[in-house]
Symmetry: C2
């Protein structure tokens, strides 16, 4: 009781951890232009001396700055300041239609696809609304030569859909636009929706997609639906978060019962 001063209790403010302070200091110096893109930051040992903190603190600080995307760190070389020139790859998610033909932008060169049979699980299963079902899976790595960006594409064709539209199963690895056309010719009125999320990549994804540092991973699921909004196909695309996904948006006719806007 006597040891606590009520007037102080409001204002207490603990200092941020030292590693965060150091990180902020480094980030500030970079943004201020003290280091130009391409420059090397002082070595860890030098920072230990100049900041007067331990090595673990410096390393944690550098990890933060790297997570901010301001530097690249290379063993044996040092920490290199990134330029804003890290141009974002733009991945166009538009679906084009010319008469009865469909086409989708191709963001790079594709490697040869792998066709397997898998059980539906996780998000694709939920989006396809068909749990406990198997699907034909087509996997393909896509590489954009201009920026050396790698993307992982995967198509899920539920077996029930392959059964009712056998042409899909005949050549699962054909261009996706041909799948769209086949479904349309089978009498479906197609519509699409896309779901985007992001997460920290797993170690194997980091190496497969050549992800540098702590860059997150964007994952987008495109669901192709037919008549009665029945989901038919699910495409998954995983891209480094250095990219930007582009969606064209059209206004949709509101349902009869229009949504009320909350406060």
């Amino acid at each position: 009781m006597a040891t606590r001063h009520p007037t102080q209790r409001q204002r207490i403010q603990r200092p941020a951890p030292m590693y965060l302070q150091v990180a902020q200091e480094i980030a500030q110096e970079i943004r201020a232009g003290d280091y130009q893109p391409g420059d090397r930051l002082p070595s860890e040992a030098q920072m230990v001396a100049s900041f007067g903190v331990g090595k673990a603190t410096v390393r944690q600080a550098i990890a933060e700055v790297r997570a901010m995307g301001l530097i690249d760190v290379h063993q044996g070389k040092g920490s290199i300041v990134r330029g804003p020139a890290v141009q974002a790859v733009e991945v166009d998610r538009t679906i084009f239609r010319t008469g009865k033909k469909w086409s989708v932008p191709q963001p790079g060169e594709s490697e040869k696809p792998t066709i397997t049979r898998t059980s539906l699980d996780g998000v694709p299963a939920a989006l396809l609304a068909q749990p406990d079902q198997d699907a034909i899976s087509v996997e393909q790595m896509i590489r954009d030569p201009a920026t050396d960006t790698r993307m992982a594409w995967r198509l899920f064709i539920p077996l029930s859909v392959a059964a009712s539209t056998p042409v899909l199963a005949e050549d699962p690895a054909q261009p996706i636009a041909d799948h769209y056309q086949a479904l349309a010719e089978a009498g479906h009125t197609l519509s699409w929706e896309e779901h985007v999320t992001a997460r920290t990549p797993y170690p194997d994804e980091r190496s497969a997609l050549r992800l540098r540092d702590t860059s997150p991973l964007m994952i987008t699921y495109r669901v192709t639906s037919g008549t009665d909004a029945r989901p038919l196909l699910c495409e998954e695309l995983r891209v480094p978060a250095t990219a930007r996904l582009r969606f064209p948006l059209n206004a949709t006719k509101a349902p009869a019962k229009s949504r009320t806007r909350k406060a």
Copy 2:
């Protein structure tokens, strides 16, 4: 020379770092069901003993498992196994139209907006194609009470647009659908596109959005364009990557010169 066996040079394979091995082991045990959602993992000290490695190694391993999204870590409590029940908040990015009125889904409750004047910079500046220009900025925090998810919304109205359509500047904080309507009434034929990216959040964003652990941040920019595809407005929405953004997609009439599909 004599110390190197040429026949070995092809097969060398360094073992993975111990912290990754430990992380994989923990992740495997979780996925195998050895620990149920809600269970506490063994404490760091116990792992140090059971794995026979140092504390720093265990901590790095736990950081990996946490980055995989398998556990939540709380100081003083321990590491809690997450359930797959971490339902993703779905943020619907549809734009609805009823006759001459627009509406957009409201993902939660809004706090009171802050109106400032800023200079356009970074992605919004590039998307609005109007560098070296000022803009009216409206900032607002949105909270989804069901999942306690926070989102940061921001609107940029370039001064040139505010000048040619003064009604926008009169009440910048009005519902965004009213801005759309005002622009339509001013003679614009509206269209939208949305750009999505992700990155590691800054420390201040982590606290403002109450981000747990190492969850990345998704950022989406919605650009409203008028006649002649002239960009008019830019909305920025930052949401935790635990959310899913949902876009409806309509096929777009292909331009006269249809895109050729590369190999």
